[in-house]
């Protein structure tokens, strides 16, 4: 008798992480809000503190349909084009 592996590994889509910035100073920020109850206040507070301490600027905001859904394609394109650093948060 054999042991049959019932599992699957995620398919490799060749995705790699973007290079990490050495410092947040002066970067363009993107905010991804997932609609959770406190997500927006947390993100805005983070953005405000980063702006005050590191002179970052929020250049793009997007709101997902729900926490269950992916960021839509147009928003991904805008984040790539307009932002150096993207913050996505979950808050309840």
């Amino acid at each position: 008798m054999k042991l049959f592996d019932p599992t699957s590994k995620p398919v490799d889509r060749g995705l790699t992480l973007a290079p990490r910035p050495a410092s947040p100073r002066g970067l363009r920020l993107g905010l991804v809000e997932n609609t959770k109850f406190n997500a927006k206040p947390i993100l805005e507070k983070l953005a405000e503190r980063l702006g005050r301490r590191h002179q970052t600027t929020v250049t793009f905001r997007t709101r997902k349909r729900s926490a269950s859904h992916e960021v839509d394609g147009d928003a991904i394109k805008a984040l790539r084009a307009q932002c150096d650093l993207v913050i996505s948060g979950i808050g309840d």
């Binding site: 008798m1 054999k2 042991l3 049959f4 019932p6 699957s8 729900s66 269950s68 859904h69």
Partner: protein
């Protein structure tokens, strides 16, 4: 086939599946080349075929892996088309798998089977429809959960973050009782033909039973359901809900004798699940102090009649029915998928 090791002792083989972390906590049926092939054959599938993709997880469900898990769950080969339809429902964009599968809410994946296949396979729709004792009910639902764990990477403590979970997470599958149905069956109400067989998937928090032994008219009976569906501790209040209500025998008779339609029931429940904003603020389910007008401002729980799914199952005796509360229409939607069987028989 992806056989990776050999053993000769069945008990040792079962232990090997435990050791590998591939079970749901219950012993599994060790698959063989023949049993996997039989699963695929009945569904008319090749092992390499894709049944679906879970977006965001890069998880592709191959037929072979689904078949292995179905064997492990104890399915007979003829159940495989039902499992395949359930997997397709899980992968449907409208279901939005990630939230209901991963959330702290710990939903069960409730499967309602309709049409000729339900009867042919002996899927229980009668006494103890949600309970133990019927192989297809127990193993089809179990196969779906094993596929979620093993193929869709939804493991407890990792991408399954259920705070408590619920027993329906082991398996939750039943058939609708279509004989003596007062209306069209569930799958027909969702756009399929009566001669189709189908699986309706809904992510359900723990079901709660609703009891009423005295109501002889629909209004008092449904008032009990409305109260259950609008409880202050209900899940999400930020949007509208979806729910599955399962009426059993004596309650079905009350609706039937009164001549109420599906839409009559849905409309009644939409109106009677409205609840004052003040109630939700008292329970800190909505933020802020109670303001003038909150006692009389009513908050809706359901937006559209079709968001209240209704099925009939269970014994003919007893005054019990059940609500299977859904997850909110913003996050996920119930999905009905036709069961495809080679040769065109559904």
């Amino acid at each position: 086939m992806s056989g990776i090791d050999e053993a000769t002792d069945p008990a040792a083989l079962i232990e090997a599946y435990y050791d590998a972390g591939w079970t749901d906590g219950l012993p599994v049926v060790p698959p063989s080349d023949a049993s996997i092939a039989a699963m695929l054959a009945v569904a008319g599938l090749e092992g390499h075929e894709e049944l679906g993709v879970i977006a965001g997880r890069n998880a592709v469900v191959l037929a072979e892996k689904a078949a292995i898990n179905a064997v492990m769950a104890g399915c007979r080969p003829e159940y495989m088309p039902v499992v395949v339809a359930a997997v397709k429902s899980l992968c449907a964009p409208a279901f939005a798998y990630h939230g209901p599968a991963s959330s702290t809410g710990g939903s069960a994946m409730a499967l309602v089977v309709n049409g000729p296949a339900a009867k042919r396979l002996g899927i229980n729709s009668g006494n103890n429809a949600f309970g133990q004792g019927h192989r297809p009910n127990a193993t089809i639902g179990r196969a779906v959960r094993l596929i979620m764990m093993n193929v869709m990477n939804t493991r407890p403590g990792l991408l399954d973050r259920a705070t408590l979970g619920n027993p329906g997470k082991y398996s939750f599958c039943f058939a609708e009782h279509e004989e003596d149905h007062p209306w069209e069956p569930l799958h027909v109400s969702r756009g399929l033909r009566p001669e189709d067989s189908a699986v309706t998937l809904i992510a359900s928090n723990s079901l709660y039973q609703v009891y009423n032994h005295l109501a002889a008219e629909p209004e008092p009976l449904l008032y009990c359901f409305a109260d259950a569906l609008a409880n202050v501790g209900t899940s999400n209040l930020l949007g509208f809900n979806e729910t599955l209500i399962v009426f059993a025998g004596e309650h079905q008779e009350v609706l039937q004798k009164a001549g109420w339609s599906r839409l009559d029931v849905q409309r009644f429940l939409i109106e009677h699940t409205r609840r004052p904003v003040a109630d939700y603020k008292r329970g800190a389910r909505l933020p802020g102090e109670i303001a003038p007008g909150d006692e009389t401002t009513l908050r809706y729980r359901f937006e559209r009649p079709e968001d209240i799914l209704i099925a009939f199952a269970g014994g003919r005796a007893g005054s019990w029915s059940a609500c299977l509360p859904g997850w909110g229409t913003k996050w996920t939607r119930a999905v009905t998928t036709r069961i495809e069987i080679p040769g065109g028989t559904s």
